[in-house]
Amino acid sequence: MLALILEQSLNGLQYGLMLFLLAAGLTLVFGIMDLINLAHGSLYMIGAFLAAAFSHYFQNFFVVLVLAIAATALLGAVLEKVLYQHLRRMTHLSQVLATFALILIANESMTMVFGAQPVMIGMPESLSGSVSLLGDELQYPVYRLLIIAVGIAVAIGLYVLVNKTRLGMWIRAGASNPTMAATMGIRIKPLFTFVFALGAALCALAGALLGPLLAVSTGMGESILIPAFEVIVIGGIGSMRGAFVGALLVGMIDTLGRLVMTSAFKFFAVSGAATLGATLASMLVSLLMVGILFFRPRGLFPARG
């Protein structure tokens, strides 16, 4: 029993940290640029596909990771300069449509290059083992522990960046009041490009890391997009701290909720307990978001004054 709970808690932590990687980029783009980017999930997907491609040429997993991240960050920067900087000045409706268009283009492009079947990334040998926890009760995959470690490291890194550096100060200023920040002399355009590229890099990291665990397919972007949006609404748009807390909250509720619901359904011999449990857990998260919007419309840690 304890082993099951520990296992699911660790899974929840892992999911939450990966969600944080996406949410962090999304909340910054949203907060600073006031831009709805539905294509954020597509960057995650592209990162995963690039990792899959690179893994054919390079054996070293670390190299594959770095290349995938760099390539996606570059793509992000290019997209920002070519498209997003114009979108910033348009209505939300236009942003929704344009980024929706990008999803269509990205999905179809990946299908054209990689085919319609999901692509597998081989897990590196050295990381494919398990570790014993709780005595010998639980065998937990090393790889997942690695993901947790990377997630925590990135969270610390982002914390330092945003709170302890000058660049971070500019980002926070931009998130809380972009017009004021511009008048105070902060060079907004390069800052936006950087923030966007950073978001893309984080997405790619998550995508490349999760690649060996899940299959890489078109549509993986969409399935993580809505939870990511829910996270930043719960946490507060523009707030890094909010994204972190929100992501962990959502990750835990989704995973542990799934456990609780599925067990309950199994106990009452409901057919299709597993799917029902999973979807109801997701609904719980949606309901949480709706609830938060009702009582704290700006989220748990609003960035805007």
Binding site: L93, I105, E108, I226, P297
Partner: protein, 334 residues
Amino acid sequence: MAPRLIPAHRPETPLTAGLPGPWTAIAIAIVLAAYPLLMRELGEDFYITLGSRVLILALAASALNLALGYGGMISLGHAAFLGAGAYTVAALAGQGINSAWIAVPAAVAIAGLAAFLVGAVSLRTKGVYFIMITLAFAQLFYYLAVSLPVFGGDDGLQLTERSNVPGIKLENDLAFYYFVLFTAGLAFVLLYRLVSSRFGRALLAIRENERRVAAVGYPVFRLKLMAFTLSGGLAGLAGALLANLSMGVTPHTLAWQQSGLLMVMVVIGGSGYFWGGITGAAIFLLLEEAVSTHTEHWNLVLGVLLLIIVMVAPNGVMSLRERVISQFRRKSTQ
């Protein structure tokens, strides 16, 4: 229909652009009525079914146009109401209730109720939060459709026969087309009444400047909620027709990407213009048909086209017509 009471010297503004002229409506009605007969003559029966599909989606897009184009509410969850209508018809059929007199109004009522509940919560938020909360609600409905066994899970629900209208066999594609045309026509007459009324003008004003509308004493929240509910109900009507067309419904109908496509149709046609929904749906579906025969990468083409439209003509095809007309007028006065 009442004649346009707007004298020639008044400039065209968003208020007047939202209204149709009666002659256009009559012309369209004649074309649509003659269309399937022409197709039958040419031996292209497939196009009759396509025509039904266009009409149904035109209705769905126009329903969204009411909320989005007229009311300014960017709802990324309207597919949920479309789906609610479709599932109602399919679920009732599963219980042996096939009569169109029951199934269709039930679909409208259920979809309208869903829209009322979603709107009551969502409309308390604004801007990006509203967009996202509609997205979240759409997901909620999707999860319900996928997970509850009564809705058939991933496979959805099948119809063994089309809804029962006394005296007409809807299994006949031609008869079905006219049924759809008739129903959609009624819906458009209703829409026309709506947008020409005090309610309609208040809605347009809300889109133009919500703060000012509140400041002169309109109960803005209730007006938006009413528009959202009506919009959902109309989408439900389209859903009922869609279930009949496809002989069933799957959860795919409720996917948020479907809401995105509806939005695309509205914007292509022209958000806030009366004929925007129809124009958009027609252009979209015909383009899809045409492109799909040459390549399986229609989504790519659509994506690129959409990007171009957003950058070049964000107000849709109908707005281009305006730009062309005003260019014309400028040239003639010079």
